[in-house]
């Protein structure tokens, strides 16, 4: 960099960060010219948020350093970052919900020991900012009473109030309606015109293409490509993001779907804040068929699984299964759903699928602990459980094959095998399966995929939720794409390719078709 003309607004040099065994960031280099909007894309878990948190001083990098305006800065805390003119809008908002907008904005920048002065200054300053960037907001409103879009505006105001010249936004549109998102991009543009540098993380290619100047792509903790927005397209980006992973070919014949085991109609669900997380989803699970649900995570897939499995009650809609109708008024819990021959491999094995403090043989009956097979009149049949666990460990090649090992002490892949074996071996009619190969190595992936196909071929109905496009395409017979809680498209697996799916997942497919 001897002949650089203007220094970069921010430059990262060889940043690495490791969480325990996870290498979240590895040797990351990044240069962002001042006054540009720089997009960063990458799959879930690629390390984007970690990188931004390092820039913002929330985490400290293990190695590497950061330059701002050509000067090396030592960022050890958020305070350092703020002093260096960096502001961040986090993926999960960092707001004190029962504070007013004003209080949230001045928190940490109160301008004196007594609040009054700071509040008055902030009121005036916020008015100015609001006018300048059309960031209108009622500064005396309580934050938790504001819609998400406005809460995000508070985050932006927070950064600007502190005089941020570099603004990081981590998936800012994940929670926004299209209109709100449009408004946000107009604001970003206005900021850019004032010379603010913006780092924008998003999964939505349409947004990236529409609003950025440059784009960097991350994969598995590394920076894999940099592009100028003008010289790239969605297809290329999608490919860069997904990477040239080993193509997993699963040997399978065409599906021969027969009867319907489950049909769901207009399922909706509101979360505790009253936000609609699942929007009128209808689907059918047919014997001998794998139905894949594709989508960027956080678009309602988890809610769908939970509602189908009976873990969370639905708010609206109905499920028909085994001659029974389940509605919001007549719900069934997870145990009752299992009795209807439905099995469920949850997305998150640590949080849900396993009790990591249990020995393997105990975890291997979770959810089926009431089964007469394992229970005597009073005591549980430990021996039966252990024997069965031994058998399954052999059959599924769980290593080490030790039923008494604490579940926590198995590797991710082997934990997953324990869970899948438990659910599959119950011989269910329906198997709900979420992220079956998340964090599982290639050998195990193959094994798991084979089992899923085998299950289909024996006439089971399978619902597969995965954020891995490869996996969806390799396994599914039919694919639904979810976006923002709703099903936005349905494809026959034969018609699916990465490009189409990638676009649908980013909800950019229809724009594309219209423009094409």
């Amino acid at each position: 960099m001897t002949n650089k003309t203007t220094p970069y607004a921010i430059e990262l040099r060889d940043i690495s960060k490791r969480f325990g065994a996870v290498q979240a960031n590895k040797d990351i280099c990044l240069q962002v010219p001042a006054g540009t909007i720089h997009g960063i894309i990458g799959e879930n878990g690629a390390g984007k948020s970690t990188l931004m948190s390092i820039i913002y001083g929330f985490y400290e990098a293990d190695t590497g350093f950061i330059e701002v305006d050509g000067k090396r800065v030592d960022i050890r805390s958020s305070q350092d970052a703020i002093n260096a003119g960096i502001g961040m809008v986090h993926q999960h908002f960092m707001l004190v919900e029962n504070f007013t907008v004003l209080e949230n904005v001045i928190l940490g920048a109160e301008g004196g020991a007594i609040l009054k002065g700071g509040i008055d200054t902030a009121r005036v300053e916020l008015q100015r900012l609001a006018q300048e960037y059309s960031l209108d907001i009622d500064v005396d409103a309580i934050v938790e009473e504001l819609p998400v879009g406005l809460q995000q505006r508070v985050e932006i105001l927070k950064a600007l109030y502190r005089g941020a010249r570099i603004l990081i936004l981590d998936e800012p549109t994940g929670v926004l309606t299209p209109q709100e998102a449009d408004h946000l991009f107009r604001i970003l543009k206005a900021l850019k015109e004032q010379g603010v540098t913006v780092l924008l993380i998003t999964h939505k290619l349409r947004e990236i293409m529409a609003s950025t100047d440059n784009i960097s792509v991350m994969r598995q903790g590394q920076m894999v490509a940099h592009r100028e927005t003008a010289h790239t397209d969605k297809e290329e980006l999608a490919e860069l993001m997904v990477g040239k992973k080993v193509r997993l070919t699963v040997d399978k014949d065409d599906a021969k779907p027969s009867g319907t085991f489950l049909s769901a109609r207009n399922l909706s669900q509101f979360d505790s804040q009253g936000v609609k997380r699942l929007k009128n989803v209808s689907l059918e699970l047919r014997a001998g068929e794998i139905l894949g649900i594709a989508g960027v995570s956080g678009n309602g897939q988890s809610e769908l699984l939970n509602v189908l499995a009976g873990i969370e009650p639905m708010s609206e809609g109905e499920i028909h299964i085994a001659g029974q109708v389940i509605t919001a008024k007549a719900p069934k819990d997870a145990a009752e759903m299992r009795e209807l021959k439905m099995a469920h491999v949850p997305e998150d094995r640590h949080k849900m699928g396993l009790v990591t403090g249990f020995e393997a043989y105990e975890a291997a009956v979770l959810g089926y602990h009431n089964s007469p097979v394992y229970n005597g009149k009073i005591l549980m049949h430990r021996k039966v459980m252990i024997d069965e666990c031994n058998e399954r460990m052999a059959a599924w090649d769980v290593r080490p094959p030790n039923p008494h090992l604490k579940t926590a002490n198995f590797s991710g892949g082997n934990q997953q095998k324990i869970v899948i074996a438990r659910e599959v071996e119950q011989n269910p009619d329906i198997l709900l399966i979420g992220q079956p190969t998340r964090g599982v190595d290639i050998g195990a992936i193959e094994n798991i995929h084979e089992q899923i196909v085998k299950l289909r071929d024996s006439g089971k109905a399978i619902l597969l939720v995965s954020v891995e496009l490869d996996e969806i395409m390799a396994l599914s017979d039919r694919i639904l794409v979810m976006f923002d809680g709703a099903v936005v498209g349905e494809l026959d697996a034969k018609d699916a390719d990465e490009r189409t799916l990638g676009l649908m997942m980013a909800n950019a497919y229809n724009d594309e078709e219209v423009s094409a």
Binding site: G20, A21, A309, G310, I311, D333, A334, A335, E336, M337, R338, H344, P346, K351, M352, G353, L354, V355, T356, G357, F358, E362, V365, L366, G367, H369, N370, Y374, N375, I378, L379, M380, R382, K406, A408, N409
Partner: protein, 365 residues
């Protein structure tokens, strides 16, 4: 990266041992600070607790109460609930025992009274735990606060009942009348001396046997029944419990009922075993001591028995110590108890993280 490489004995033996040693060390410093010799104090303490027959009897008698309350805390704890209400539940459990004995001792034989008294202790103790449990399960009221409040309510209730209704006429102290002997739990020295085992004239009574039986039952319940399975699932991973279709509020309520019932059994030992009348304040802090016992015993019946005997020895040895060195009050035992709670409970990460780190580094290297 993981616990995988930390040997099991580190967690179940080394860390608790270090915690208790640190607690003893600090207690030793306190004794040193008040100008006494900790070694000498320790020798009186050990002699008092184990050095002679009667001392052993007393040690086990105190341990009986602590086993009950320790089990009570741990059953709730296994379900992720922190029951600070052992004191109140024990108190009310004693009321149950007392009422049974007072009602029946004149008319019924021992073998009728005893099972009814056991039921009385359990049911009353459980009933006292029920309200906080219900409020936690269905209304989300914080069980720690409600159980604390219920301790106070229990103590006022007992004063009211004993002073106004149960006190024997013409007696000064607020005690009920003394039960007839057929409502007394037999002393163990009556059984043991014919066998040639001498525990002196100690108050150790049949309740100790009941406590041991409870340990076995709790062990079986927690690790060998379906209900125990559900409880442990709930306690370690509530999300997994929901996933498994476990009715969490039902399990919560039952866990507290059992916990309260176990605490209530303190009444058997104290009321039916030793005092033979219903009196005030017989719980004497055993409910709180149960927290230390259960923390130290790692919430396992075997650990609880050992911890209870250790604390029983401290109580008994502490009394001996205070007898021999009057400047040291038996309250030194309370200090040790508190330090155990501090080091093996609140400061568990202080050692744990470092020691595990050490073993991990060693195994990585």
């Amino acid at each position: 990266m993981s616990q995988a490489k930390v040997p099991a004995w580190v967690n179940i033996a080394l860390i608790p041992f270090l915690n208790i040693m640190l607690a003893f060390l600090v207690s030793g410093l306190v004794i040193l600070a008040i100008g006494e010799n900790p070694i000498e104090a320790a020798s009186y303490l050990i002699y008092g607790a184990f050095g002679y027959d009667e001392g052993v009897g007393y040690t086990l008698y105190y341990a009986t109460n602590l086993i009950f309350t320790g089990l009570a805390v741990s059953v709730a704890f296994k379900g992720g609930l922190f029951n600070i209400g052992g004191e109140g539940q024990a108190y009310i459990g004693g009321l149950g025992v007392g009422l049974v004995c007072l009602a029946l001792d004149k008319t019924m034989p021992f073998y009728v009274i005893a099972p009814l008294a056991i039921i009385g202790a359990g049911v009353f103790g459980a009933a006292w735990a029920y309200v906080p449990a219900y409020l936690q399960a269905r209304r989300g009221s914080h069980i720690v606060i409600t159980t604390i409040m219920f301790n106070f309510i229990a103590s006022s209730l007992m004063v009211y009942l004993i002073v106004n209704w149960l006190k024997e006429d013409g007696r000064m102290a607020p005690n009920s009348r003394t039960f007839e002997e057929n409502a007394w739990l037999p002393y163990l020295h009556e059984f043991l001396s014919p066998l040639g085992i001498d525990i002196g004239d100690s108050p150790l009574n049949f309740a100790f046997v009941i406590a041991l039986i409870c340990c076995v039952l709790v062990w079986a319940l927690l690790w060998h029944t379906r209900w125990g399975y559900q409880l442990r699932t709930l306690g370690t991973n509530p999300t997994a419990a929901k996933y498994a279709g476990i009715d969490t509020s039902k399990v919560t309520i039952w866990a507290m009922l059992i916990s309260g019932g176990l605490a209530g059994f303190v009444g058997l030992n104290e009321i039916m075993g030793v005092n033979h009348s219903l009196l005030l304040n017989f719980t004497a802090g055993y409910g709180f001591a149960g927290i230390a016992v259960s923390l130290m015993g790692r919430n396992h019946p075997v650990g609880i028995i050992m911890a209870a005997i250790l604390f029983g020895a401290l109580y008994q040895g502490g009394a001996e110590l205070a007898f021999e060195i009057p400047t040291i009050t038996p309250e030194i035992v309370v200090v040790i108890q508190g330090l155990v709670i501090l080091f093996s409970g609140a400061l568990e990460h202080m050692f744990k993280d470092r020691i595990e780190g050490f073993f991990i580094r060693r195994s990585v290297a």
